[in-house]
């Protein structure tokens, strides 16, 4: 298949998978930020279990694809041998704070945009712009020269996935270690998720976890297998249709930045709609379809100056944090974690820490006002 066709096909797959994600998120009220705030404010683990279910399914599917040769796990941005731990922690924490202030992460933001929320539209623009600034612009200088310097970076020659590190430490066979590690962690997660009768009875939470987990696996298959072909210009095997030129699956930080970039540089023929941009677009569309069916579409606006400032600050923190940590709640916290990357685990916990602290502070401030 000619390369331009293959890249376009991969992008279309992105839109399709995005539509599924947007529809499911709106219908089931899946929300990573909500998952944390439900625990902090109400002690309810329902939506967190949903997220963990998605992780468990994604973990099993992703490592199965890799084990059977459909995915080269070394060709992703989560599994490299550079481990900038300070960037993961600071980026993750900033993202956690940001998503709390902005009423949701990138996934939720796009879902709300599809439902008519103008506040999230503003968040989208500031998130994308801040992310772009952190990738190649003024915030990027801070990221590279302060957070990601060698002093704060570890190197793992065999890659930073947990199986690779274990296999290297103990001298085990990498393939078996991968299956064993995946099995242990995924089964532990599934046990934790399914042991709660309240969760088992929640159709929405189960559906969301299942579908979203499967979409992550599909994303790896599409970008990592279907999209891998010989580039006719350079004769090198290349990943077509992705911004990173690697296998990507589902992430929102990069895609939001690249969407803003594409809209700005549309006439530059080297820029095109990619899988990631397709996912972002698809989520908004899928959410809108559900909104139309459920008649939930509503234009929402900021209720006050404080509301607007909070959302803008949150959006900027998410853009900065997401790029610095190489991913957000979905990019690192779901897709990255599915590869068993240590950096992803670290970012996941940092995001949750950042969000939890922010929520506690907000709760205390609210309590003091009453």
């Amino acid at each position: 298949m000619p390369p331009s066709n293959l890249a376009a096909t991969i992008a279309v797959w992105g839109v399709g998978l995005g539509i599924v994600l947007g529809f499911v998120a709106n219908k089931c009220n899946f929300c990573t930020m909500g998952a944390v705030s439900d625990i902090v404010n109400m002690g309810d683990w329902g939506r967190m279990r949903s997220w963990l279910l998605a992780i468990a399914i994604a973990m099993i599917g992703t490592n199965a694809l890799a084990y059977f040769g459909y995915l080269d796990l070394s060709k992703t941005s989560y599994t490299g041998n550079v481990f900038p731990w300070l960037a993961y922690i600071v980026g993750g924490a900033c993202f956690g704070v940001g998503m709390t202030l902005a009423s949701g992460c990138g996934y939720k933001t796009l879902t709300r945009v599809g439902n008519g929320n103008l506040k999230s539209l503003v968040v989208f623009v500031f998130f994308g712009f801040a992310a772009l600034m952190t990738m190649k612009g003024v915030l990027g200088v801070f990221r590279l020269q302060v957070l990601q310097i060698p002093a704060f970076t570890l190197k793992f020659d065999q890659g930073q996935t947990l199986p690779a590190l274990l296999a290297n430490l103990a001298g085990f066979d990498p393939g078996t270690t991968q299956l064993a590690t995946t099995g242990v962690i995924a089964l532990a997660l599934l046990y934790f998720v399914l042991k709660d009768p309240g969760f088992r009875q929640s159709f929405d939470n189960n559906l969301a976890g299942l579908i979203i987990g499967l979409v992550v696996v599909a994303g790896w298959y599409v970008t990592g297998y279907l999209g891998l072909a010989e580039d006719p210009e350079t004769l090198e095997p290349s990943y077509f249709g992705t911004n990173s030129r690697l296998a990507e699956s589902i992430s929102l930080t990069g895609p939001l930045a690249f969407s803003v970039e594409l809209l700005s540089y549309w006439s530059d023929t080297s820029k095109a709609v990619t899988f990631g941009i397709g996912i972002a677009l698809g989520i908004a569309i899928g959410s809108c379809i559900y909104a139309a069916l459920a008649k939930s579409f509503r234009l929402e606006h900021f209720s006050s100056t404080e509301d607007m400032l909070r959302h803008i600050a949150g959006a900027i923190l998410m853009g900065f944090g997401g790029v610095t940590a190489t991913g957000c709640t979905i990019g690192q916290g779901l897709t990255g974690v599915s590869t068993l990357s240590m950096g992803s685990f670290l970012t996941f916990f940092s995001i949750i820490m950042g969000a939890t602290i922010t929520m506690r502070i907000q709760y205390n401030m609210m309590m003091r006002e009453t």
Binding site: P232, E233, T234, L235, E236
Partner: protein
């Protein structure tokens, strides 16, 4: 030691578009190894000669600034399907790489 060069030659009308991919470190000789602090010695392809049915079509000289795992693309007019393309590369240490393909 002659490693092989991957070559694709496709016919577009009467012009053969040829791409050749070589595996080579292309070390400029000006880079410092971050681990040892020493300058890494130059090791790069200096010469690439391409022939079509035995006649030289491209004679290229390269410096170290050509990217690692270099690709060269060139076009030959008046080619026919089945014509034989041979590409030979020589580096500054005298090591050679070569490959051949037929125009498809």
């Amino acid at each position: 030691m002659a490693e092989s060069i991957k070559i694709r030659a496709t016919l577009q009308g009467d012009i053969a578009d040829v791409r050749a991919l070589m595996t080579h470190i292309m070390e400029t000789g000006m880079r410092k190894d971050p681990a040892s602090g020493q300058v890494v010695p130059a090791h790069f392809i200096r010469q690439v000669v391409a022939t079509l049915n035995g006649k030289t079509v491209v004679d290229a000289q390269w410096g170290g600034a050509v990217s690692k795992n270099p690709v060269i693309g060139f076009r030959v007019k008046g080619a026919k399907a089945g014509d034989k393309i041979v590409v030979k590369a020589t580096d500054n240490k005298g090591e050679t790489l070569s490959g051949e393909a037929s125009v498809a």
